[in-house]
């Protein structure tokens, strides 16, 4: 029951609302609403001019109806009229209506903008605030166009009231988020940053959200905010709980502002100024200390506010990832929370620990909590908490605890919530592969996975186990034995039958010596599952049977019998019928030699990134998967079907385009090979009789089909990178434009530009001949772990390049984290029928994301000393390949992207540089020193190059790249 009605009671509105509430049915409600709408419409249309109050009341009713979920198609004009009322409440309702029901009607927008403009210039702070709130609520582009220039002026003007400044700051933030191109801080930047010093806490609280957003986009322009933020934070953290009066919240001083300050600092690397850094570390320590103090209040608000700051501080510590002491303290604190009675804290501790697990400084400390986390996985009653526990186990897994963690995750799977099973399965599969020391454990784990959660085992998972078994002959016998045993279960999952069929078909001979698993026993076991399986699985089993005929001649009669039965050879499914016919024929007419060649054991799969990992990445988005498979080295994209297609190139069958992706073993069997089924048998015979000697290089493909690479360029595997591709890459380390590659046919030119962690590259493909290139395709791929480090996007180019023409392609690059390898650019086209297939390294190197950093000598040496851990430094001593021309050297160092610092090194012969590498997740400060011995004889001139950075991989990579330049 509303005890009071503040301000203006609108009685008519209250009556209407209670009428609606008394409606017994949806129909009654709609009827009442329609009645009201008709009433309002007639009032608005009526001859009598409505007074402001009535207009306000009706507009408010319309708003109420809209918020109930009904459409409103009138009243906008009346609302706009209210904006120009000089009565506050009328104006307020007008603005509320506009904020909730923005209409892109341009006529109205103009009127609304006019009203806003009047209020902004009214110098009445309450009116100004209303107008600013409206802009912030709507945030449309039209409004940004009209006001983005005016609001910064209001924000920094000396005579603006505090409350107006607060609204202006957040209004600007909203406009910046919606239309960053229209909000230009320019000359205001420094005054906006200095709002951090404002004596009104509310102004700081509002302004800092704006500053954080601007800083994350333009860190350099706003970097002076770091020291201001640190001193503001320090004042808050060290203040007594009552100092800040109304900004103290349940005995916690300014929790919102503290969190926002800590958040702002996460846009930057650790402060370079030693004093600032010292002060900040002190703050962080104080925050960690306070967590150990007894609470000043039993209220949950007290502990929430306090812990909000603590978690934000821990995020900052993790972001810096450079203070081992703080990292370990953070980890211990989170460890305490893991057993806290508050579910919220347990949840957040698990979440936060996940990121701690990936820091080298705290990985071990996180691991000590394994038992608690396993316990959480077993006992937490809330599935979202269990999910966090599973994530953390995945993150903390390494060789030492993999068996335990995988076992726990497997047993959790049996009862896991359906919504998370698939992801759990992928994670178990990845861990099992990554940390497999002996592969029998790996095989056991995956078979268990299929047994426990077969429905959630995606194709990628069981493809992968087959790839691995094929590639490792030490595990093949074990795999055959295990899968044979698993198939004994009366009810086993279809995925198990697939794996079983494939593995026994390939390696059944390894266990055939044992009478308990003799060839016929194996066959009967597989065939007992046949009738319960879906068509694709049956197709796979038929392929296993023909392999059996080859492996075990004694099974031939039995299997031919099966193939010949009506249920096979006359199967209504074209695919199955065709296989039965083909295999039956193959087994009857081909000699044992031919059969043995065609059905030879599968050759090893090329090493490539685990398809499972790719899938998990897809599920979770790039960057979410920190675990990389160790054997996933530089490899092309995932195009399993095509891999095999190439080998069978000579076979003459003409269909079955290998699917370009995802179908890793080429098991997708829907496309029939040789035309309609009835003719298939004879086609096959033709193939053999005509192909003659070629048949010896023919193989039955994974799916039992003869297949070939069709004559389109795209299906050919990308060629390996050209031998000279590294050299070509090195040419572009210190420059952004030039010719990347040229031969008699093709010239590839590059123009590129980089800003922060983003880059754009223009590739120009020039056809040097007078003949057109057809099927011209280019593919940019990020091999191996580069996939999670760089985000590269391209648009396809036109497949035809006329003689003498040039086509352009734009590549957008986002650097997510530091990286070593270069993306691969594969170009394929046909020139006069001959396929050209060239792979180059795209000259995207880590130094492209440098921001030059100017600093004085003292700062440089201080930074230099701070980076004194051995792994932070990389050094190379090498012979000069070119002359030591000062200007050339300087140009190269500038081309690297760093700032060349003059008058820093005591020896004027030496060069020192500084820069920050910008990646999406962090910034890596980098210092460089190059010492030439210019006096030496030509031929004996040497350089010593030293790199120091906060990240070892970066030091090493930049050092390697640069050493090739002199």
């Amino acid at each position: 029951m509303p005890a009071v009605s503040k301000g203006d009671g609108m009685r008519g509105l209250a009556v209407f609302i209670s009428d609606i509430r008394n409606c017994k049915s949806k129909e009654a409600e709609i009827k009442r609403i329609n009645k009201e709408l008709a009433n309002i419409r007639s009032k608005f249309k009526g001859d009598k001019a409505l007074d402001g109050y009535s207009k306000k009341k009706y507009v408010c009713k319309l708003l109420f109806i809209f918020l109930l979920g009904h459409d409103i198609d009138f009243g906008h004009m009346e609302a706009v009229n209210l904006l120009s009322s000089n009565k506050y409440t009328e104006k307020q309702i007008g603005y509320l209506f506009i904020s909730v029901l923005v209409n892109s009607n341009s006529e109205l927008i103009r009127l609304i903008n006019n009203a806003i403009k009047n209020d902004l210039s009214s110098r009445n702070p309450t009116f100004m605030c209303l107008a600013l709130h409206c802009i912030a609520n709507v945030g449309s582009r039209e409004m940004a166009e009209a006001f983005a220039g005016e609001i910064p002026r209001i924000l920094v003007a000396g005579d603006t009231m505090d409350s107006v400044k607060q609204s202006a700051a957040l209004c600007l933030l909203r406009l910046y988020k919606a239309s960053p191109d229209l909000v230009l801080m320019g000359e205001w930047t420094s005054r906006v940053v200095h709002l951090l010093n404002d004596q009104h806490m509310g102004v700081v609280t509002a302004a800092i959200s704006l500053i954080t957003c601007l800083s994350s986009k333009n860190p350099d322009e706003f970097k002076t905010c770091v020291s201001l933020a640190v001193s503001r934070l320090s004042r808050i953290v060290s203040s007594a709980s009552t100092d800040l009066q109304d900004y103290t919240y349940y005995f916690v001083p300014a929790p919102w502002l503290s969190c926002k300050l800590l958040r702002l600092l996460q846009c930057y690397p650790p402060p370079e100024d030693g004093a600032v850094k010292g002060r900040l570390v002190e703050c962080l320590e104080t925050i960690l200390n306070k967590a150990q103090e007894p609470p000043k209040s039993k209220k949950v608000q007290h502990s929430n506010a306090k812990n909000a700051i603590l978690f934000e501080a821990i995020s900052l510590i993790i972001h810096y990832d450079s203070e081992p002491n703080l990292l370990v303290r953070a980890c211990n604190q989170l460890g305490q929370f893991l057993q806290h009675r508050e579910t919220n804290l347990r949840y957040l501790a698990l979440e936060s620990m996940c990121t701690l697990a990936s820091s080298e400084f705290s990985h071990e400390a996180v691991k000590t909590h394994i038992e608690t986390v396993i316990n959480a996985l077993k006992t937490e009653r809330d599935v979202s908490v269990r999910q966090r526990a599973a994530d953390l186990l995945y993150a903390m897994c390494d060789r030492s605890n993999a068996k335990q963690i995988v076992a726990e995750m497997l047993s959790y799977l049996e009862t896991a919530d359906y919504s998370i099973r698939e992801e759990m399965v992928l994670k178990v599969a990845i861990l099992a592969e990554k940390y497999a020391v002996d592969y029998s454990w790996y095989v056991d784990t995956i078979l268990n996975l299929i047994r426990i959660a077969g429905d959630y085992v995606s194709e990628e998972v069981w493809y992968r186990v087959i790839q691995i078994v094929i590639n490792r002959d030490d595990v093949q016998g074990y795999a055959a034995k295990t899968v044979f045993e698993a198939l004994q279960a009366p009810a086993c999952h279809e995925n198990m039958v697939k794996v079983g069929g494939y593995i026994l078909g390939e390696f059944g001979n390894l266990i055939a010596g044992d009478p308990r698993s003799s060839p016929l026993v194996q066959f009967n076991l597989l065939h007992s599952k046949f009738h319960l399986c879906s068509v694709p699985t049956r197709a796979l089993l038929l392929s296993a049977y023909i392999k059996f005929i080859n492996l075990f001649p004694e099974t031939k009669a039995t299997i031919q019998e099966v193939l010949r039965s009506d249920s096979q050879i006359r199967n209504s499914d074209v695919e199955l019928q065709q296989r039965a016919v083909e295999y039956l024929k193959l087994s009857s007419i081909a000699s044992t030699d031919v059969l043995a060649t065609v059905l030879e054991e599968m050759p090893p799969f090329p090493e490539r990134e685990s398809s499972i990992l790719a899938k998990l990445k897809k599920k979770k988005g790039p960057g979410a998967v920190s675990v990389e498979l160790e054997d996933g080295k530089e490899r092309g994209e995932l195009n399993g079907g095509a891999d095999r297609g190439g080998e069978a190139a000579i076979a003459a069958s003409n269909a079955s385009t290998p699917s370009p992706s995802s179908d890793l073993l080429g098991l997708r069997s829907a496309a029939p090979v040789g035309g309609p089924a009835p003719s298939a048998g004879s086609l096959l015979v033709d193939v053999f009789s005509e192909a003659g000697p070629a048949a010896s290089s023919t193989r039955v493909n994974d799916d039992g089909f003869l297949s070939s690479a069709p004559p389109s360029a795209a299906s050919e595997d990308p060629a390996p990178p050209l031998p000279e591709s590294d050299e070509l890459l090195n040419k572009f380390v210190c420059k952004n434009n030039g010719v990347l590659f040229e031969n008699q046919l093709l010239q590839i030119g590059i123009k590129s530009e980089y800003r922060q962690n983003l880059g754009r590259m223009y590739l120009f493909y020039g056809n040097k001949t007078s003949v057109q290139f057809v099927s011209f395709t280019t593919t940019v791929s990020c091999p191996g772990e580069l996939q999670s480090q760089l985000n590269v996007q391209t648009k396809p180019v036109e497949p035809l390049v006329e003689g003498g023409a040039q086509v352009q392609q734009v590549i957008n690059i986002e650097c997510l984290t530091d990286f070593v390898d270069a993306p691969l650019l594969n170009i394929k086209f046909r020139y006069g029928g001959a396929l050209q297939n060239i792979t180059l390294k795209l000259p995207v190197t880590i130094n492209k994301f440098f921001q030059p950093t100017e600093m004085a000598a003292a700062d440089f040496f201080q930074r230099w000393k701070q980076l004194s851990q051995p792994q932070q430094e990389a050094q190379k001593i090498f012979k000069a390949s070119h002359g030591m021309d000062t200007e050339v050297l300087k140009a190269k160092l500038l081309g690297l992207g760093t700032a060349l610092l003059e008058n820093v090194d005591p020896n004027p012969e030496n060069y020192v540089c500084a820069g920050v590498i910008q990646t999406k997740i962090q910034q890596v400060g980098c210092l460089l020193r190059l010492e030439p011995n210019a006096q030496a004889q030509p031929g004996e001139q040497m350089y010593r190059l030293t790199l120091r950075s906060s990240k070892d991989t970066v030091s090493q990579r930049v050092c390697d790249l640069l050493a090739e330049q002199f």
């Binding site: 005890a3 009071v4 009605s5 309450t126 912030a136 607060q166 919102w256 929430n304 979202s384």
Partner: protein, 153 residues
């Protein structure tokens, strides 16, 4: 913060505030989905959940659920206290607030929210300052012939 929703235990939406543009249809879909998800949760469960690519922070006060969707880098606990501060503001303004106050004076609930949060960020966290702004506005208006206390239901 991307949006804030207030809804009753019966799933009736009482207040919606969107800080990033969404089509009306999408708003309805999001609301439906989220209301269902949150109502299905048990009382002792934690106040946070992952939802699409956002984090949802919610808390129940009497018959009303307050539910905020925040982005990945946002702080869950401080969001929980944003909710609490908003409840305190409503409580102070209406004097022991209940769901009916918000139903009958929905426009006030929006005004208070705008003073407290703007563009999805905390604008003014001092309870006194927010209420001062609202009360000033109330003083700016004049009594009308139709001015009554809201009748008792």
């Amino acid at each position: 913060m991307q949006f804030m929703l207030l809804f009753s235990r019966q799933g009736k939406l009482r207040l919606q505030k969107w800080y990033v543009p969404q089509a009306d249809k999408e708003k309805k879909k999001i609301t439906r989905e989220l209301v269902q998800t949150v109502l299905a949760r048990k009382p002792k469960m934690c106040s946070f959940l992952e939802w699409r690519d956002l984090k949802v922070v919610y808390k129940r006060y009497a018959s009303l659920y307050f539910c905020c969707a925040i982005e990945d880098q946002d702080n869950e606990l401080i969001t929980l206290e944003i909710i609490h501060r908003y409840v305190e503001l409503l409580d102070k303004y209406f004097g022991s607030v209940c769901e009916l106050d918000i139903i009958f004076n929905f426009e006030k609930a929006y005004f208070i929210l705008d003073e407290f949060l703007l563009g999805g960020e905390a604008q003014e966290t001092s309870k006194k300052n927010v209420l001062k702004a609202i009360e000033q506005a109330d003083l700016l208006q004049e009594p009308r012939h139709e001015y009554f206390n809201v009748p008792v239901y």
